[in-house]
């Protein structure tokens, strides 16, 4: 269900917790699964439940509670822009507007070519680098002026 590479990473996470507390690794396991699959289908979550000896419902609870998990298919690149107050004071909304205009989509929409999904994010703890955006939950981009955004889109479009 998941690649041996992912399983290896998951096992490293499980080893961090006491032997009888395997479910502590559920957050990282879901994150690794999402990284491989792009999103969390029910079958993926069921696999995680089985692998960690958890009831499937307990895995769904976690996956639906934390907002970086995606329970629906989305574009190849998920761009999450922070628009919270400190970022908004330093151009966060401009960055979001520029992305909407460039991509021709609004928040929670995906471009017709399936390349980009745009999301509005909450505080990423990087307010000093505003405007900030996150690519696929992993790559943080700082000081995103319109030019920087154009360059990023160009790079990802390649």
């Amino acid at each position: 269900m998941l690649s041996s590479e992912s399983i290896k990473r998951i096992d490293r996470e499980i080893a961090k917790y006491p032997g009888d507390q395997k479910r502590s690794a559920v957050m990282s396991t879901l994150a690794i699964a999402q990284e491989e699959k792009g999103w969390l289908a029910t079958e993926t979550m069921d696999f995680v439940a089985e692998y960690l000896d958890m009831p499937p419902i307990a895995v769904y609870e976690v996956a639906t509670f934390y907002n970086m998990y995606d329970l629906e298919p989305l574009g190849k690149y998920k761009l999450t822009v922070c628009t919270n107050l400190p970022c908004a004071l330093s151009g966060g909304n401009n960055a979001a507007d520029h992305l909407k205009q460039k991509l021709g989509i609004g928040f929670n929409q995906t471009t017709p070519d399936g390349m980009f999904t745009l999301k509005e994010g909450e505080c990423m703890g990087s307010c000093g680098d505003a405007p900030v955006l996150l690519v696929n939950n992993r790559r943080m981009c700082s000081f995103m002026s319109n030019d920087e955004i154009d360059q990023l889109l160009q790079e990802l479009n390649k």
Binding site: Q21, M27, E61, T83, P86, A88, L134, M140
Partner: protein, 425 residues
């Protein structure tokens, strides 16, 4: 500009890619405090006493005295105890813990080691904010370095002291910054705060005695052990010991983190952050992260940056996140965005918060959009009153306090929005 004694950022150089590494950290007295404890066989009681003397208070937001918190851990306890670092930094405006971890990760590891030694703990977890993946990888590498050098693991530096430390990566939930929600999250559950008591020192992670401190709190400890609690206290003010990192964001020329002694005038911090962007006038400032009450610019300019001074001025130091707003800022719009945040991040466990945050947001939003009425201002106060103090955790208070302070200090702007159906700035 005045030169300050720095306890956390001395010798730290973000532009040098090797500066964060163990070798560089050792060159700036890194792990000297740990070595001193082990070679001089300093007792756990003495360490806690030293931290008490320093008047170090929790740097995550609550400001609880650290030494006192450590003394709550049961001493004679058969079985596992845990130490947890709260690096789930998601309070809007706060970005200091990320910089500690990416630019000076070993100071956190050393601080946790000292705390673990003082409380007889063998296992620790560092819970890292979901959005900062690079920082998580940096911490993973730093822990590997420390383990390879014999600072972490079994029989540290040849002593009887053993401590294992692991990073736990969050995945996007503001509420996990609340310490018991964070524990639930490590246990692999939804991050919903626990009812207290029992407090974590008695019933914490996996039901075992647990102490949770903020990243910056731990990072303050090595200096205290090297130089003594009294010296640390003297850097700041009575009851407000030491130095603190302030994250300055918003309308300034140089947003960023600045380490200054407690009690430094706000005007000095503002100057360090390059002053107001475009030379504009300071309208308002949230001095401790988005959950804290806003203060008008003129009040702020007269305030010193420490717990007691900011409390006297009518707000709280919180996490030390200083959000600067100039005269072009619409306070209704600012509150609209913050209210949406608390509505979005309420965990849904307590009715006053789950429902109340939505009501607050919808009312502020309709005022912002020119659909408000005068009664809304009292209604906001009424709802805030019915949330505050009536929930399991402080998120309810965090949602209510900014609303009350904004409406109190900038009431004219709210009235203008209601009467003219548009913004006055």
């Amino acid at each position: 500009m005045t030169e300050f004694t720095l306890t956390m950022t001395n010798g730290v150089n973000a532009s040098d890619p090797e500066n964060w590494r163990l070798k560089s950290y050792e060159r700036r007295e890194g792990y000297a405090a740990l070595k001193k404890i082990i070679s001089d066989r300093i007792s756990p009681e003495e360490i806690i006493e030293e931290v008490k003397k320093s008047a170090l208070r929790g740097r995550g937001g609550a400001g609880f005295p650290t030494g006192l918190k450590w003394s709550f851990m049961p001493k004679q306890y058969e079985g596992e105890k845990y130490l947890v670092c709260n690096s789930d930094e998601g309070e809007p405006g706060t970005f200091k813990d990320r910089d500690i971890m990416r630019y000076n990760p070993h100071i956190l590891i050393e601080g946790m080691l000292i705390a673990a030694y003082a409380m007889g703990v063998k296992t620790g977890y560092n819970y890292i904010h979901g959005e900062i993946w690079d920082t998580y990888l940096r911490m993973e590498e730093a822990i590997d370095e420390a383990r390879a050098a014999g600072y972490l693991g079994d029989r540290i530096l040849g002593s009887d002291f053993s401590f294992q430390l692991y990073n736990h990566h969050g995945y996007g939930a503001y509420i996990c910054g609340e310490e018991t929600a964070l524990l639930e999250s490590i246990e692999g559950k939804k991050g919903q705060p626990r009812f207290k008591p029992p407090f974590p020192a008695n019933y914490g992670l996996y039901g075992k005695p647990t102490t949770i401190n903020n990243t910056e709190t731990f990072a303050s400890v090595p200096w205290i052990i090297r130089n003594g609690g009294e010296k640390y206290l003297d850097l700041g003010k009575p009851n407000n010991g030491g130095t603190k990192l302030f994250s300055v964001s918003g309308h300034v020329n140089k947003p960023g983190n600045y380490e200054i002694p407690m009690g430094t005038p706000f005007s000095v911090l503002l100057e360090m952050a390059g002053g107001m962007r475009g030379g504009k006038k300071l309208k308002g400032c949230i001095p401790g992260g988005s959950s804290m009450p806003v203060l008008p610019g003129d009040v702020m300019m007269e305030t010193d940056m420490d717990y007691d001074s900011i409390a006297k001025a009518g707000s709280m130091l919180g996490s030390g996140a200083v959000i600067i707003m100039d005269e072009t800022t619409c306070m209704v719009k600012a509150l609209d965005r913050l209210s949406y945040f608390y509505f979005e991040e309420s965990c849904g466990q307590c009715t006053p918060c789950r429902e109340g945050t939505g009501w607050l947001y919808r009312i502020v939003n309709r005022i912002e959009n020119g659909k408000g009425c005068m009664e809304d201002l009292d209604l906001l106060d009424n709802i805030a009153d019915n949330i505050q103090g009536r929930t399991i955790c402080a998120l309810g208070d965090a949602a209510a306090m900014p609303v009350r302070a904004m409406v109190e200090h900038f009431r004219d702007e709210f009235i203008y929005h209601i009467e003219h159906k548009k913004c006055m700035v």
